[in-house]
Amino acid sequence: MLRFALGRLLAAIPTLLFVVLLAFTLVRIAPGGPFDAERGLPPEVEANIAEAYHLDEPLPKQFFRYLGGVLRGDFGPSFRYRNYSVTEIIADSFPTSLLLGGLAMLLALVIGLGAGVLAALRPNTFTDRAVMAVAMTGISIPIFVVAPLLVLLFAVSLGWLPAGWTAQGGGRLVLPVLALALPQVAYLARISRASLLDVLGSDYVRTARAQGLTTAAILRVHALKPALIPVLSYLGPAVAAVLTGSVVVEQVFGIPGLGRHFVTGALNRDYTLVMGLVILYAALIILLNLLVDILYGVLDPRVRTQ
């Protein structure tokens, strides 16, 4: 297992390099630069700035300069927040996103899986329909509609909860976590229901049933573990996405998380910040996928981790 994990991590290095190169190329061929403004700059000033930030060098040279920095653990200063290093900005906003995303994912896992299993055990009954209808409602409204509606209802009209982040007092996590969790609940419920139904219809489960095992026993012994495999496949990237923040939720609630940096970083041409975020995201994905693959083996011993 350890060798497998180490091997996978080593093998991830070319993946990371590929990602870094692709991101660097994309962000640099995008027109416009980090210092453009409606008030134009005299050419001498522009030249001074380009020199100071090494933007006048050929791109390959800039790439290797960047890569060299990354290898030393230096992700450079942000172009937008010029007194802050990319590492600092990420260190500052990532914990917030981790907290929000983590809570949302936990909530979603419990409710989503619970609802999915419940529905799968009673297919085509009222319970099934009701659970799925609620789940589908959750994924049928864009989050940028849900979030303002939540604010309007719970913060502005009812005044139960704060509308934004830096508010004093408690409860500021509730609405953002709800908004984040809602679609995840729905996806998880659907996937787990479908997957469990599949497994429940398989030969060995039917055999088990024929042998007179109760539903609970079948779930425990045969069905739950394999049914979790598609859920795991989904969870890998979903967890990475939720933990790195949601630009919509952060915008609506004014949360200083990581998510909006993905968008504003790209729009501001904050080259270094964008690259840092891409590397962070890629590393997270690689780690989570590794975890998923290890769990595959745990859930179904016949899936070998070679």
């Binding site: 453009d36 409606e38 010029r82 809570l103 509308a163 012994v221 609506v252 004014g254 909006r260």
Partner: protein, 549 residues
Amino acid sequence: MTESQNPRRLPLFALLAGVVVVVVVAVLLQRDGEAPDVAEQNTLHRGIGSDPDTLDAHKTNALQSFTVLNDLGEGLMADDRHGALIPGVAESHVVSEDGLRYTFKLREDARWSNGDPVTAGDFAYAYRRLADPATAALYVDSVTAIANAKAIIAGELEPDSLGVTAIDPLTLEISLEQPTPYFLALLVHPSMHPIHESSVKAHGDAFARPGNLVTNGAYRLTGLRPGAIVELERNDYYWDNANTAIDRVHYHVLPEPMSEYNRFRSGELHITDSVPTDIFEQVREDFPDELKVATSFTIYYYGYNVIRPPFKDSPELRQALSMAIDRDVLVEKITRRGEQPAYSWVPPGIEGYESAQLSFAGLSQQERTEQARRLYQAAGYGEDNPLEVELRYNTSDTHQRIALAIQAMWREALGFEATLINEEFRVLLANMQAREVTQVFRSSWKGAYVDAHSFLTAFESDSPSNLAGWVSEEYDDLMQRAATQTDPGMRSRYLEEAERLLLIEQPLIPLYFYVSKHLVSTEVAGWADNALDRHHSRYLSLPGVAGGG
């Protein structure tokens, strides 16, 4: 599989799930952040839109940075709550007869936030640093008026040769390149505030970070979280500290007007940076006392690319398109916030300056439309041969609605269908500067100081902000004459003449003059509308709050 034979396994799952839910709910509902105590109450909460990029005044051109820096620092001159020029660190000044030499007498009690005295040397250092190419300053407009500045920026002279001399710690002499009647107004801008030399020496670029930044204004920086908040606290060493009412100022980063508005509505903000456009009428109804709308020193315009067809050498066509736009409809139906239709480039309200007007300003829209049709046809276009033109604007709801409205007005009046292209902001900037693909483009211009020059300079041939690519020797000549003129009346005549020329050639379509819009809680006293939309925290107070009156 043997372990899974445990029959109590399923309830265990349920138990586990229950525990997780309880924990999550507990975390969600915990009271994070203790209740605000009395000492915390004298705190002003302001929205600031997107956040400052850096608080190094020389390395930013972001309005948000300047807003914060205006609270943190103070130049030789300052502005009062109405935007009028008042003495700042300099208690008095003398101008030489030829208008080229300014001598400032600094006040003795001016102090940095660490207690050091503010000296003439701090100003001289700051101005040299601003001009020094090694600084790679972004906002050099202010310093270029000083002798030798342009050559220093271009790397032709050493920074030491800048026309500033600290004669003694309290006397600063500045020599100018040309008489610059608005020079004193330039000194208010944060880029012309002094800089604490020893902290730059000690911390390098990091001198502008909380903990390192030493400033000389009413407040000092105590905290900054990128993307979240900028925290200021009263500077006890400030010379006028006795008149600062509010102890703490928190600038909240809220780029979305709607979320900012929600924060205001739930009582978490005293002052907003903006007001959501789409629900403006509703806001006006709900918050009649809180809503502050004032004409701002900023124009919204469409530029033509005049170095490429179809707008090259065709002022008639440019005029036709401009005339076909019903500016009244634009401000009354589309923007709806009390904007003023623009028929000139320089906004009204500058003392001693009479703005020129577009030739058709006096006509009714119907007459304009008829004339526009004639001009359009004279330029060789018509029903069978409609103009093909692309209108570029940066991604934003407001810009989109205005573009759609103008597209409809052109369709209605002249019968052509403009192609709308919405581009991401920096793509549009790059395209406008390149002047290759642009035809008609949206832009805006904000005056940095209340003088016609701050607008007219944008269309000088060598101006980097001349996005139209318009070149007129006559215009440049008039601007140059105005620059060397010491008589204010004569100077204004030259500037007026320059604007008249601009409005005849029309490399741009003036659309409307912006209004600044804020929501200001009734708890806040001391707010005053002004054209530059500057509202320094030191002029505000919270009378209802303990210690805030």
